[in-house]
């Protein structure tokens, strides 16, 4: 019997010839990522070493990445103090993959890791963020963990007691129609299998629709795999992965490329023909409450958010900019744009997209998580409705339990911003 992609990665990370779903393993970690919640990791890390008589040193400072993105610049003195403590820890431990609040290297962790070449295929990536699943887009086994578990990783360099997950194979056939995007694919899949449909399992993506999908789209799909409960999403690496890593992430060293065995054993197989997909919208207050956009057109929206770790990449901004170029955001609707990193910000600036947004009446914000987690930069008022390209629409998510959040692609979001109501980009766009 062969191995799935993740089984193969875990076999490699534990120096075993073979592992299978259900085995308990302790894989070596290729990259361990945290953001502002490193403040809690540091606290737990010190607890781990308490009374051991040993110095609290991380196992390998070159395999730890810390990126400030959740609250940038700090929205409160409390956050600023947490960030200050993290900077001190980073300096003391010699952690070099640290991305502070800076225009030359800042951004959202799930964009900084790929674009900086910190994620390689076949490796184990853990992050104190549920959307760490994103990095499966480059063929890594990437999953979210809590702060105490990260403290354990920082100390030991392995993840303790990991049960090898079952894998669901998802085969996407056909070509995406115009204005139908990878976001629509993953929303459709989540709606189909539910918010717990892949709990404790891996979603492994295959098929011509993935072969033809740029890394930006694969990041969107893997990012939201967790919204179906998945431990991770993963796309077996191919020519596009190598292109991205060499050309965009400037990786110089050896890149190991392997796929799953042809006789791997899957929990089940799901087939989706993307050529039949329509733009999708996840309605309040769960991500699996998914409908085709035509069923919700006309709903008034007060705020449109384009960006986030899900949809803040250059391809996303390009689609949105082309829709709003030369037009105006509807009065009564605020449109906020958050490029996923400063690298993307500069690319969008050079391509003229940021000017298109501003001239249309949108507000271009600094790269970061923005209002997605409800802390700052665009909270909603009582009774207000947002349409966002982000990944969660839970009650209270955008800072107000008395507001509603719809999730959609950048095409739906941009078309809707122009009309002030949820709009099908195939009709409202250009």
């Amino acid at each position: 019997m062969g191995m799935t992609m993740v089984e193969k990665i875990l076999a490699g990370a534990t120096h075993r010839p073979f592992v299978k779903a259900g085995d308990v393993v302790e894989p070596e970690v290729g990259m361990a990522m945290s953001h502002e919640n490193a403040a809690l990791v540091i606290n737990q890390f010190r607890e781990v070493f308490k009374d051991t008589g040993k110095e609290a040193k991380v196992w390998d400072p070159s395999r730890i990445a810390i990126i400030f993105d959740h609250r940038v610049p700090a929205e409160s003195s409390k956050t600023a103090t947490n960030q200050k403590r993290i900077r001190e820890f980073v300096a003391a431990q010699g952690i070099t993959k640290f991305h502070d609040i800076r225009g030359d290297e800042g951004g959202i962790c799930h964009q900084i890791l790929p674009e900086s070449g910190y994620v390689l295929p076949g490796k184990v990536v853990v992050g104190t963020d549920s959307h760490t699943t994103s990095h499966g887009a480059l063929g890594a086994f990437a999953f979210g963990i809590g702060a105490t578990e990260m403290a354990s990783v920082w100390a030991l360099g392995v993840v303790l007691n990991v049960e090898v997950p079952l894998t669901i194979k998802v085969v996407a056939k056909g070509r995406f129609p115009k204005y139908v995007m990878p976001k629509d694919f993953i929303l459709h899949l989540i709606g189909k299998i539910s918010a717990e449909g892949a709990n404790f399992k891996v979603l492994e993506f295959h098929g011509p629709a993935f072969k033809n999908m740029p890394t930006s789209g694969r990041l969107t799909v893997c990012n939201m795999s967790v919204e179906a409960g998945a431990t991770s999403g993963i796309v077996p690496p191919d020519e596009e992965t190598l292109r991205y890593l060499r050309e965009e992430a400037k990786v110089k060293g050896k890149i190991e490329v392997f796929g799953p065995d042809p006789d791997a054993s899957y929990d089940k197989v799901i087939e989706i023909d993307v050529s039949k997909l329509e733009p999708q919208v996840a309605c309040p207050h769960t991500v699996d409450n998914v409908k085709p956009v035509r069923k919700v057109v006309g709903i008034k929206i007060n705020q449109v958010v384009i960006g986030s770790c899900t949809n803040g990449r250059l391809d996303d901004l390009a689609v949105a900019a082309k829709i709003v170029k030369g037009k105006k955001v509807a009065r009564g609707t605020r449109m906020l744009v958050f490029p996923a990193s400063y690298k993307i910000y500069k690319q969008a600036l050079n391509a003229g997209y940021l000017a298109d947004f501003i001239k249309a009446g949108a507000v271009v914000m600094n790269p970061g998580c923005g209002p997605c987690l409800g802390v700052h930069q665009g909270a909603l008022g009582d009774g207000e409705v947002a349409l966002a390209t982000t990944n969660r629409n839970f009650k209270g998510r955008m800072g107000n339990p008395n507001a509603e959040v719809y999730l959609a692609s950048p095409a739906v979001a941009a078309a809707s911003a122009l009309k002030g109501v949820i709009t099908d980009p195939r009709k409202g766009g250009r």
Partner: protein, 163 residues
Amino acid sequence: MAKVVLKLGDDISTDIIYPGRFMATVLPSETPQFAFADHAEFNARLRRKEILGGSVIVAGKNFGCGSSREQAASTLKGYELVIVARNFARIFLQNSINLGLRTVVCPDIETSEGDELEFAGDKVVNTTTGKAFATLPLPKARQAIIDAGGLIAYTRLRIMKKS
């Protein structure tokens, strides 16, 4: 005997348990004040210490879905609550085990607020209605961590063993 103090539905997210706007508060000693912060009445009962340790929250499927924020587990651990759900989201379950928050997977649980429950081996007995419901074991990989008293203690053992 443990009293059901709150009954919830499916897909209770970490944003409900511990809203994102309080995430700058990280220490387990400080997070309990924001438990179910948008559920004002329940939050007030907790903070007034009207709810005894060992009391139970009963939920449907996918409890703790969403963020990896460990505050969602530490805020409930602060009151020594027990969470009984039809099933749990992965990261929340792991965080709970790592921090010692008691979680019970009980796929068919039927209760109302105010009912008394008894945890008896591999079942939960609702002593108010007289019905018993089977529980599922936690992931086997995690039992060793519970036995060690949480992940900090478990990791500490490993550090000592390393030298």
